[in-house]
Symmetry: C2
Subunit: 148 residues, 2 copies
């Protein structure tokens, strides 16, 4: 408790996090998929195949909702279900190439948007952000470890 983040303003970091969230959410969606649906795709894209129960644990929705969402994604050809060989009850959900394309498409939009904004920052500002990225990524990593 003596290792106090006295230079880092948590209030400012929180504000930036909130603003980043709103920036992210407000980019217009190309595909008419719900936020949870896109989040599931993103999770599969970055974390590899997962069980329905694992997907449920990572989203703020109920288990039947995840079942429905994955059924929908399967219908659109964005994911593929496969029985889990280690558990007769379970299903492993894999993202398909089409699903990965959806995730990549959105990321490309965000990257283009951020690149445009970043160009209007000063060199010093860009350097400061670049220097902080590994630490910000660590923050996220700590958060993920906390959840899992």
């Amino acid at each position: 408790m003596s290792s106090q983040a006295h230079e880092l303003s948590i209030a400012q970091l929180t504000a930036v996090m909130e603003d980043f969230t709103r920036m992210s959410i407000r980019l217009p969606a190309v595909h008419r998929l719900s936020f949870t649906t896109l989040s599931v795709l993103h999770t599969l894209s970055s974390g590899g195949p997962k069980r329905l129960s694992e997907l449920t644990a990572g989203e703020q929705v109920t288990q039947p909702a995840i079942t429905q969402i994955v059924r929908n994604l399967e219908r659109y050809g964005l994911v593929r279900r496969q029985p889990d060989p280690s558990d007769g009850r379970a299903v492993l959900v894999h993202i398909t190439a089409a699903g990965a394309a959806v995730v990549d498409g959105r990321r490309a939009e965000r990257m283009a948007h951020l690149a445009e904004l970043a160009e209007r920052l000063t060199r010093a500002e860009r350097d400061a952000i670049a220097a902080a990225l590994p630490a910000l990524a660590r923050l996220v990593e700590l958060n993920e470890r906390r959840i899992d």
Copy 2:
């Protein structure tokens, strides 16, 4: 086009933005309000009273949805509607003390969460983030100017 952000990796910044969004969304909600509803409250809290049409412009939903959301918030006592003196058609929506308390409550949760994570960063990591916050805030500001 020669002022290239060669030290700032847009891919990494995008990834952090996406992860921040997911961190933010995944904090369990105390109030059972939709994401859009909370976003409207947040907008009123930080930007002051706004017209329904202004709120519509800032969210990814239709005008009737905003009308319904604001009606709901009014019923909960979280906002207050007031005719716009400069336009007989328009309504100005003000956040109430109860509404501000909802926004502040969520922010406090996020701050507590981030503070806990930040404590587990090294001093150098916290310093790097602190140094980057003004630049990140500028990025957000540039984005807001782009929308308005």
